[in-house]
């Protein structure tokens, strides 16, 4: 079953249809979520009034930052074990996009934090720290890939680092939780909880789905570009050999 996914030709055929669908459905979901979030749902005074509407971007970004690092780790693992080139192409495409959504999560979180907690940045908050270290993992992965002088080396080094990072993520998460449980101010813990009203939850989930679809579409487009770039490099090389 894996090998069906690993065929670049099949992937190009599949993604030619799937990527536009993902973009379209993702845009619809995000727009509906934003419309609901910005105009329809009532504001929650307890979460700082109108500023809580940033949630409909912030929370999907947080989900995606975690999901994309998991995807990066899985793609790296698949490439490292089975050497399916498509897995490496996927990993290369996921990293910068994951970094963007992680940065978006941090930025929107700061904007939400300033009026509600009175600070742009709180070292005591476990989630902020975890997401920040996730961003560093993405940036380190990209920097390492960029510094390698061949595609094959970039793939191998990147896969090793992504796997080392992935097995450290639970440890980082655990240590950060322990660190912050010492000083956690009571106002922060209530930021969001499972007791969310359906009026907020539905637009949030739809918005999350939309961000996921947009992410998937962007990854596919990046992968298509990379496949074609490799084909160009191969054709150029054979043309030069004449």
């Amino acid at each position: 079953m894996w090998s069906a996914f690993a065929n670049p030709h099949k992937f190009l055929k599949f993604s030619a249809v799937a990527a536009p669908l993902f973009y379209g459905a993702g845009a619809l979901c995000i727009l509906w979520g934003l419309w609901q979030g910005l105009w329809i749902v009532p504001k929650d005074e307890y979460q700082g009034g109108d500023i809580m509407r940033v949630m409909f971007i912030h929370v999907p970004a947080a989900w995606l930052s975690m999901a994309s690092y998991s995807a990066l780790a899985v793609a790296s693992f698949v490439w490292f074990i089975w050497r399916h080139e498509l897995a490496d192409i996927a990993a290369k495409a996921i990293a910068p996009l994951g970094a963007v959504w992680t940065a978006l999560c941090l930025a929107t979180g700061s904007i939400w934090g300033k009026p509600t907690w009175g600070t742009w940045w709180q070292w005591d908050d476990a989630r902020m720290m975890s997401v920040l270290f996730l961003l560093f993992l993405f940036l380190g992965y990209m920097a390492l890939r960029a510094s390698m002088d061949s595609r094959q080396k970039a793939a191998r080094a990147g896969a090793i680092l992504a796997m080392v990072g992935a097995i450290n993520v639970p440890l980082i998460k655990f240590s950060v939780d322990l660190f912050t449980s010492l000083h956690q101010p009571a106002s922060v813990i209530t930021a969001d909880g499972p007791k969310m009203a359906a009026v907020y939850l539905t637009p949030l989930l739809v918005s999350g789905l939309g961000h996921g679809l947009l992410f998937g579409g962007l990854v596919m487009t990046h992968m298509r570009t990379e496949i074609r770039q490799r084909r160009i490099a191969r054709l150029t090389a054979s043309a030069l050999e004449g």
């Binding site: 920097a143 510094s147 390698m148 080392v164 990072g165 440890l171 950060v176 322990l178 010492l182």
Partner: protein, 221 residues
């Protein structure tokens, strides 16, 4: 398979660390310099120094691991030592671990041993605690060197790899830094912190050599 290549790697790394004139004094000088800059930068207030002192020593330990690790695998990749190791058939993970251990002995352990002196300079009370802290710095430093070694092995073929090591290793240093700081503050929730520090160091010693070995095989290609 014999242990000879592993011992040779250990001796070579140790000799390299001691060569270049100053040996273990160089990292100590680095630590001293970094530590002396802090009171100049943040002021000489006794309470402030007492509060930041342990943290400064942790940071200096992390930085010194990054600074000294930059070249350890790079030189081997350049002069062909790496290829010879691969030919001996000795387990690469063991060789990488031996090299890292030697570097920690030459550059990490002296810093830990000097930590009580620095702690006194940062206005800590002279007590047995300083020796316990010395143990924490020893353990934590070992984890720093092993994770830093992964970064060093991955960037062995990269020019100016030092900056790359820093960004690769920084997130991996987090658990050790946190457990170490918790173990020393001794507040609520820190009961198990020394154990967690030891556990995270053991984890680094168990996992990092295999990552280093994979990265070194890549560097030899």
């Amino acid at each position: 398979m014999s242990a000879a290549p592993i011992l040779a790697a250990f001796r070579q790394a140790f000799a390299e660390a001691w060569a270049g004139g100053a040996g273990a004094l160089l990292p100590l000088g680095f630590l001293g310099g970094a530590a002396v800059l802090v009171p100049l930068g943040i002021g000489s207030d006794t309470q402030t120094l007492k509060a930041v002192g342990p943290g400064i020593i942790w940071v200096a330990l992390a930085l010194s691991s990054l600074v000294t690790l930059e070249r350890i695998f790079q030189a081997d990749a350049e002069d062909g030592t790496l290829d010879l190791w691969l030919q001996t058939g000795a387990p690469m993970a063991a060789i990488a671990a031996a090299k890292t251990l030697a570097h920690w002995l030459a550059a990490g352990l002296p810093l830990a041993l000097a930590s009580p002196l620095l702690a006194l300079m940062f206005q800590a009370q002279a007590s047995m605690d300083l020796l316990i802290h010395l143990g924490f710095y020893t353990l934590g430093g070992l984890a720093f060197f092993f994770w830093g070694g992964v970064g060093a092995a991955l960037s062995a073929t990269v020019r100016r790899g030092g900056l790359l090591i820093s960004i690769i290793a920084l997130p991996l240093y987090v658990p050790t830094a946190i457990f170490g700081a918790l173990a020393m503050t001794g507040g609520i929730g820190s009961d198990g912190a020394p154990m967690l520090l030891a556990a995270s160091t053991l984890f680094a010693c168990a996992v990092a050599p295999y990552a280093m070995a994979a990265a070194l095989r890549l560097a030899a290609d």
